[in-house]
Amino acid sequence: MEPFVRHTGIAAPLDRANVDTDQIIPKQFLKRVERTGFGQYLFFDWRYGEDGSPNPEFELNRPEYHGASILLAGKNFGSGSSREHAPWALLDYGFRVLIAPSYADIFYNNCLKNGILPVTLPEAAVNRLMRLAMDRPGTRLTVDLERQTVTDETGATESFAIDPHRRHCLLNGLDDIGLTLQHAAAINAYERRRPAWMPRLLTNRG
């Protein structure tokens, strides 16, 4: 996974709460078998009208937010399904940072597995940044994971909290599976202790 240390980019405002994963990536697009190529389907039902042409009312379709890599959103972002296609779509579209007052659990975890930094800030701070992005489209923010800060072009800074372990993994692009397999001996020992009557499927592998 690509490490995340610091990122500067255009912030796009999506001033809605409870944006669910069906909006982020509608289910008809979950049929791909690769991890890539989902960006074109991001927020599909909001981005495009009935006839397939871009909806000019949708925030992210505005030309001034073209190339945005930071998404500002309302509380409980990513509610609903566990589909990791949601962060894949965000990443593929170009977003590397999300800033919101809160996220749904599974979505939050999925973002971190893909090198997207979900920043949690108090609602008042998110609203301030939202207004900034709306008043000055194209405005850039710098998000620094090492210092845990979000800085705007005026120099105003917000601090955010993040679990130290998650911060460490993201800063170093650590592979979760590799980390777990460092404890292979403990996994083996645990398996030896499991009761034999616990359910098992018959397989053609021993």
């Binding site: 809605r16 709460a17 409870n18 669910d20 069906d22 909006q23 509608p26 289910k27 008809q28 979950l30 049929k31 791909r32 078998v33 690769e34 991890r35 039902d45 009935e50 309302g74 509380k75 409980n76 509610s79 609903g80 566990s82 589909r83 990791e84 296609h85 962060p87 809160s102 749904a104 659990d105 599974i106 939050y108 975890n109 999925n110 597995k113 949690t120 909290a161 679990d163 130290p164 372990h165 998650r166 979760d176 599976i177 980390l179 777990t180 397999l181 404890h183 403990a186 996994i187 645990y190 499991r194 009761p195 009557w197 616990m198 359910p199 098992r200 499927l201 018959l202 397989t203 592998r205």
Partner: protein, 491 residues
């Protein structure tokens, strides 16, 4: 502001095994299972938990298997892994080839992956095939005290057995395939206590809709919910599964109900349940699982079952819910400007006007099925309402059994005839119209009374309008052509 997700530590002694410590204090069901599954833990990091059962389906696994191949890893425990096809499958004639080439490919990829890695797959020709959260319990694979995961948020369903069961993303699916473990930060624990007797015509579905309506779609974020109380205790296993299934809709990590004699009676004799002396040993372990008196929850919510009515969702998230005797709310009733705006948006999408009595809302389609309400008891309940009546000419109604075994059981009981005689379509097992990923889909503007679990914009089809209800309520809506109070039809 809720603190962001923390590492594993909740007052533990640094660096030491704390299991002996914890055995001396009153402990919750959740913590007992958590403690019994820690493979490794250290301060400041998520715990590594062992996973007893990994359920797999075609939508969230392809990239995980690819990841295994690319890193030269294999599936550590194919014997603890079961796969099925459910999201993409058509619910019509299975002998025909799958029409949609992308669906076909996704199912073919799962087939190849299961073959390559030696994983048991219930494919379309298998009579045990069905929705992933229905087949596990049917086979007796879901048991108390287990950790169970799947790349699907409704994995919380299995918590009905007193298991710790939750949804994971595709990267975590790959992680479990490779290691049979998962890194997990320990969540907080919430008790939702439901006391009293459910009135006639009010169901488990109504209990969970009322809970989500009370606490909101982020009300339980960061928590595992344990459902307790006399109303929960008196529910059958299938009804408990309905309640736990929708825990995710309140933002919960998982939802659980402690095992008891009802649980054990359901399990005894099932395919993968222990037998003989193993059964006795399992029972004694399982009886030790329920939460100890005096154990602490981080938050408690109480509900009186006796005051509940059949519920209906009116909006575009499962928390936007109202009793059947109620009216569509006015956005002005909502406190915050954000909630008011969200309500306006929902009403606009759903084409509903504030003040409209719910029972005046006509429906175009009715869907009875899904991992929430697609089991035999749900079908019996709907059939009781449908028997001797006819689906309204303005309604297209369908019943989708949750698995091949449920379908076979329903046909043995003659339920299929009851439904067909009443004018419902009787289908093959799959996720069907819960989410428009297969041919069962709403057209823009169509309004559906559905026994599924989500009413998000476009969930059942772009522009589709979903009202979540219980199976009885859905059957009654099909017949009346509108949402009605099924209590007036019962008995």
């Amino acid at each position: 502001m809720r603190p962001p997700h923390r590492g594993a530590q909740h007052g533990r002694l640094e660096g030491q095994s704390t299991r002996a410590n914890e055995a001396m204090q009153p402990t919750t069901l959740f913590e007992k299972i958590w403690n019994a599954h820690v493979v490794h833990e250290e301060p400041g990091k998520p715990a590594i938990l062992y996973i007893d059962l990994h359920l797999v389906h075609e939508v969230t696994s392809a990239q995980a298997f690819d990841g295994l191949r690319m890193s030269g890893r294999t599936v550590r425990r194919p014997d603890l892994t079961l796969a099925t096809m459910d999201h993409n499958v058509p619910t019509t004639d299975r002998s025909l080839p799958i029409q949609d080439p992308v669906s076909r490919q996704q199912m073919e990829v799962l087939r190849r992956n299961c073959q390559e890695f030696g994983i048991t797959l219930f494919d379309l020709r298998d009579p045990r095939q069905g929705i992933v959260h229905i087949i596990g319990p049917e086979q007796g694979l879901t048991q108390p005290g287990m950790t169970i995961v799947c790349g699907d948020s409704h994995t919380s369903t299995h918590g009905a057995f007193g298991a710790l069961a939750f949804g994971i993303g595709t990267s975590e699916v790959e992680h479990v395939l490779a290691t049979q473990c998962l890194q997990q930060a320990k969540p907080a624990i919430m008790e939702v206590r439901v006391e009293g007797s459910l009135p006639l015509g009010v169901t488990a579905k109504d209990i969970i809709l009322a809970i989500i309506g009370r606490i909101g779609t982020d009300g339980a974020t960061g928590h595992v919910i344990e459902y307790t109380g006399s109303a929960i205790r008196s529910l059958s296993m299938e009804a408990r599964m309905t309640v736990c299934n929708m825990s995710i809709e309140a933002g919960a990590r998982a939802g659980m109900i402690a095992p008891d004699d009802i649980t054990f009676a359901y399990l005894e004799g099932r395919r993968h349940a222990p037998r003989g002396r193993d059964w006795e040993e399992a029972l004694s372990r399982w009886r030790a699982l329920p939460t100890d008196p005096g154990a602490r929850f981080d938050r408690v919510v109480e509900l009186d079952a006796g005051t509940l009515e059949p519920h209906v969702t009116w909006g575009t998230n499962p928390g936007q819910v109202v009793p059947i005797t109620g009216r569509i709310p006015d956005p002005e009733e909502f406190e915050s400007p954000a909630d008011r705006r969200a309500a306006e948006r929902s009403l606009d999408y759903m084409a509903l006007r504030p003040g409209t009595p719910v029972q005046e809302i006509a429906v175009d389609r009715v869907f009875i099925g899904s991992c929430t309400n697609g089991r035999i008891e749900d079908l019996r309940a709907a059939a009781r309402i449908a028997a001797g009546r006819r689906v309204a000419p303005t309604v297209h109604a369908m019943v989708v059994p949750g698995s091949g075994l449920v379908k076979a059981q329903a046909e043995r009981e003659g339920l299929d005839r009851v439904f067909r005689d009443a004018g419902f379509e009787w289908r093959e097992a799959g996720c069907s119209m819960c989410l428009g990923m297969n041919p069962d889909i709403l057209q823009p503007g169509e309004r559906c009374a559905s026994t599924s679990n989500r009413n998000f914009e476009g969930r059942q089809g772009k522009g589709g309008r979903t009202h979540l209800v219980s199976p009885e309520m859905a059957a009654a809506a099909a017949i009346a052509g509108r949402l009605v109070d099924v209590r007036e039809w019962e008995g």
